[in-house]
Symmetry: C2
Subunit: 190 residues, 2 copies
């Protein structure tokens, strides 16, 4: 997605050749016009997939999932980090190792909001090693839901998680794939 790639080059800030900060427009401050275009792009990429729900993990996936959901006209369900005591009822539960947070955490999703009738689109801001996405796939398996697609804004191709998901047969579409950030220069996959 050219608009996104241009914005990454303009406003992304690279740390340690591994981390790119895009918090000026994607996951701390949110440029709603860009996110609307991103939502539209996901709609065109997964058109015809008969998506019934968009699934993401709190917190930084929520805004993107909402803008995508507007274009699909379906609900969003976001998996929650589990420290809250304000969850009741039966939940799906899985463990995710966070690359940026450097620790494991439990995420939960109430069973009533995801069932075997659902054809879901998993949406997230970043895909690196793919741990967060594996967590959502695990929850989807528990629910018996059909994963119709995975939509990622920025894939860090050099960390390999995306290619593993493609090899496993998932319809993964990333709007920008960064294959290298060496010498503080972003190289996108063609």
């Amino acid at each position: 997605m050219e608009l996104l790639k241009k914005r990454i080059l303009k406003d992304g800030r690279i740390k340690d050749n591994q981390i790119i900060k895009v918090d000026g427009f994607l996951n701390h401050q949110i440029d709603i016009n860009l996110l609307n275009e991103i939502g539209k792009e996901f709609k065109s990429l997964f058109e015809g997939e008969k998506i019934t729900k968009i699934i993401t993990i709190e917190a930084s996936g929520i805004a993107i999932a909402c803008f995508a959901a507007m274009h699909f006209n379906v609900p969003v369900v976001f998996a929650k980090k589990s420290e809250s005591k304000n969850i009741d009822g039966a939940v799906y539960e899985t463990t995710v190792t966070s690359f940026t947070r450097g620790k494991d955490y439990t995420v939960i999703l109430e069973k009533r909001y995801l069932t075997s009738d659902d054809r879901i689109l998993i949406i997230d801001d970043f895909l690196a090693t793919g741990k967060a996405q594996q967590g959502l796939l695990d929850i989807s398996r528990q629910a018996g839901a059909t994963v119709a697609g995975i939509g990622i804004v920025i894939e860090k191709g050099f960390q390999g998680g995306g290619d593993k998901l493609r090899e496993a047969g998932y319809n993964l579409q990333s709007l920008a794939i960064i294959d290298s950030m060496e010498n503080y220069t972003v190289k996108f996959r063609e």
Copy 2:
């Protein structure tokens, strides 16, 4: 807001006369059409306030803030819970006591995304004792930003946080104010 009140009566689930679960449409599963109407309502309530940014706290404020921001055509900035090591630069920092989580946590917001030029609208899903809002007000004070308004979806009037903010002179608008949930019956403030 009548549409919201009807939805609360239809789908809200009361626990212990204190907590109302609205996770079927507001803060776990998200009804995007309802949230769009909520965003529109906030726009009409704060029309003319020359809002430059919408501020919220992760996670459940994000979706609501995004839909409001669409109608104002301004960016959203969400304050983050601070365990992430993926934050750099100077940050505003404050401590919030969570009613639902039963503990204190630190929230941060990068200084570059909120300045004394901003006229902000603070948006959140719930207002109970007002701790989360006090945290965002503290961050706004640190930034020297002008708080042009506070927009809440559901205020639990019987916990008093909203009336304290009104007494302090804030332009607080809650789309539904629940004054009592005794005997599992929601009573809205007129």
